[in-house]
Each structure stands twice: as structure tokens, then as C-alpha cells.
Symmetry: C2
Subunit: 220 residues, 2 copies
């Protein structure tokens, strides 16, 4: 991938810069991501980056499109429901790997992978017999749920029930007057033992939504 030159120096390229940028953001979050640090990671002076990307904004656009590229499009063999379920799960997984991207997935100038993905999802719904209007609704609910869930998941920052317990306890400590909020107290007390698990939680809501969509589709 990386092209070496006669002088043994690894030559920069746009894909290489993007790849390193994603890696840096994965490691440090958007907060710890800067052009200067990226340049340092690549063993190069900051301004060198600008020969390969127009500016930071455009670089972020490219990074987001890499994340879109990692999302499996809806399968064209399966029925619409399995196809939607699969791509939703794939989307969540990609967002889990690249938590910094969540807020930007729908905010940035769309790249090719983004367009392909959106086109495929809409296509899957239309082919499945959803009317245009219902397909738009269906798309909107699903994506709102997916991105919203990813956002929550990132915030809460726990994966297994044990982690959940620890995280909730930590929060409870920080809050202090927990007795004023009995239902939060209940969460702090019960969640650790409840077997909370992010993929399961995600699927619960996803299936609820897909159920509803199926009913709406049949009704029309």
C-alpha cells in the first residue's frame, strides 16, 4: 500500500493520510485529534498533509466516508426485514469501532460510500413494496434509532452487565443525593443484576421497530 521512494522515505498519499487519521481518531477521539498530531504520527510536518487533503473539514468528510464503507449494505437475497436488521447491526458495529464518527455521519458532505449505502437502503424498502411515503418514514425511524442508540451507548460506555454495574455505581457516587431520585436509585441497584448487554438491548428496540414497520406495510 505505502509507496517507498528511492530515499527510503515512505511517500504520503490521500488514502494513507485518511487511514492514519481514522486510526488516530479511534485511539484518541475527536477531542484528541488534530492535524498536528496526525502529521506527527505520519512522521511529517503538519503542512505536508495539505498536499493531500484540502483542509481539516474535508479530511473529516473522507474519514466519515471510510466508516460508511465499512457498513454492510442490506443483503439483496434476504427478505426486507432480515436485510434491514442486518444492515442496522452492521451500522451499529461500525459506529462502535469508530465512536468519534457518530455525530458526523449525517452532518458531513456525503461521499460515495454514503450515497451507495443510502441508495441501497432506500432501494431495499421500495423493492419490498413500501410506498414512497412509508419508505421515507421507515428509513427515518430506523436511522434515528440506530444513531441515537450508538450515541447513548458511547456515552454510557459500558458493555457487559458488570461494567454497567460499575458505571452506574460511579454515576451514583458522583450524584450524591440519590435518594431524591428513587427511580434512578432503582437503576443503580437493579441494573447490574439484570444482565444488561448492548447488542441485546439494541436488538430489542430494533425488532420492536421492525415489527411496527411490518404492520404498517401490511396495512397499506
Amino acid at each position: 500500500m505505502n509507496q517507498r521512494t528511492n530515499t527510503g522515505r515512505t511517500r504520503l498519499s490521500r488514502p494513507l493520510v485518511l487511514e492514519a487519521a481514522v486510526a488516530l481518531a479511534d485511539e484518541n477521539g475527536l477531542e484528541g485529534f488534530s492535524m498536528r498530531r496526525l502529521a506527527q504520527d505520519l512522521g511529517v510536518v503538519p503542512m505536508a498533509l495539505y498536499k493531500h487533503v484540502a483542509n481539516k473539514d474535508e479530511l473529516l468528510d473522507g474519514m466519515v466516508d471510510i466508516v460508511f464503507g465499512e457498513i454492510e449494505p442490506p443483503s439483496i437475497d434476504d427478505d426486507w426485514r432480515s436485510a434491514m436488521r442486518g444492515r442496522a447491526i452492521s451500522t451499529r458495529e461500525a459506529l462502535k469501532r469508530h465512536g468519534w464518527a457518530i455525530e458526523m455521519m449525517e452532518t458531513r458532505n456525503p461521499g460515495p460510500a454514503n450515497l451507495r449505502n443510502h441508495n441501497a437502503v432506500m432501494g431495499c424498502l421500495r423493492e419490498a413494496g413500501f410506498s414512497f411515503a412509508t419508505a421515507i418514514h421507515a428509513y427515518s425511524v430506523q436511522d434515528a434509532y440506530i444513531y441515537g442508540f450508538a450515541l447513548q451507548e458511547k456515552t454510557l460506555g459500558f458493555e457487559t452487565p458488570n461494567d454497567a454495574g460499575a458505571a452506574v455505581q460511579r454515576r451514583a457516587q458522583a450524584i450524591g443525593a440519590l435518594h431524591e431520585y428513587p427511580y434512578l436509585a432503582e437503576i443503580a441497584a437493579e441494573l447490574p443484576a439484570s444482565g444488561y448487554d448492548n447488542p441485546v438491548e439494541f436488538a430489542w428496540g430494533l425488532d420492536l421497530i421492525l415489527d411496527g414497520l411490518d404492520r404498517r406495510r401490511r396495512a397499506a
Copy 2:
């Protein structure tokens, strides 16, 4: 509210700083929000702010809690479904007024208004007969949807069908090879005429989710 001194100078205070901060963010977004600009708006030198807030992070925490304070908690008189519906709509409206807050609502150290709100929502569900586990699920789906929808809405940035048409056309222009994406092309062509409207769109998905929750609740 603002306390004047003998010298006629308006005296700063934490609430006053927070209020001005929210106003500034409303106007310029998080991008255009800085301590220095906020100080300027308040007619004061930047460092003066630090007598009232610990630092920018803590200021953001406070701003987010103001937004939480604007959200109507679930009504205790209504049935759970109307109560949830009402607070969801109120949440979306608050997030619409303060678009900069969306990404931070669940990321920041929770303030009192945040805790009150979460406690009230969880309480409403439990009182309505949701089991603990189902209440957690129900909470999770709803909030994921609400925040996810707000995020989309902010991105797409249109309100009425006309705006939607214009926005979609603009996007289409920017994309160029739209014929490669037939289903996006369909959106560009059809959406303007479809009567798209954000509150309606939001309610469609919300009701779908509440339907599903009701069914799950009855089943248990």
C-alpha cells in the same frame, strides 16, 4: 435578574453567564462558541468568566442542564402513553431550539434538571406497570429515537416540504452523478411533493414505537 452596581456596571453572575452562553450557542452553534466571544458579548474580559465557571467544560455542563430544564417532564395525570408522547415532543422541541446541545445531552456530567427528568421518565414507566427490565428497554428505544431524530433533523436542516425540496435539490446538485443512485434520485424528485413535515415525521415514528411498547407491556 442582572444586578447593577453603584458604578452602573452590570454585575456578572453564574446564571447570567449561562444564559448568555446558551444565547450565543443558539445563534452561532458550538463551532462559533468560544469563551472569548462569550466574554465579549457580556462586555467583559475573557478571564472574568472564570470567576463564575470553573472552565469551558463545566460551562457546557451547565448549558446542557438549562436545556434539560426546558423539557416538560411526563405528566403525572395522563396515562403513560400520553405522558411519554408529550415529553418526547417537548424534548424534540427543546433540542430544536438548541441544536448545539443534541450531541451533548447524554455525554455531559448530569446536572439536577437532567436527573429530575430521567427520574420522572423512569418513574412514569414503572408506575404504569412496566417491569424493571422492560422499562429500561422502553426508555432506551424512546431516547435513542428522540436524540437520533433530532440529530437527523438538524443535519437535513429543513422544516416544510418546500424547504425539503430545495434542500434535496441542492444536495442532488452537489452529488453530480445522481443517475447512479436511482433511489436517491427518487427522493430528490418525490420528496418536495410529498408534504414532508418534521413534527409529523417525528410523530409517525414515535407512535410506532409507543404502539410496540404497549404491545410488549400487555404481553408481560
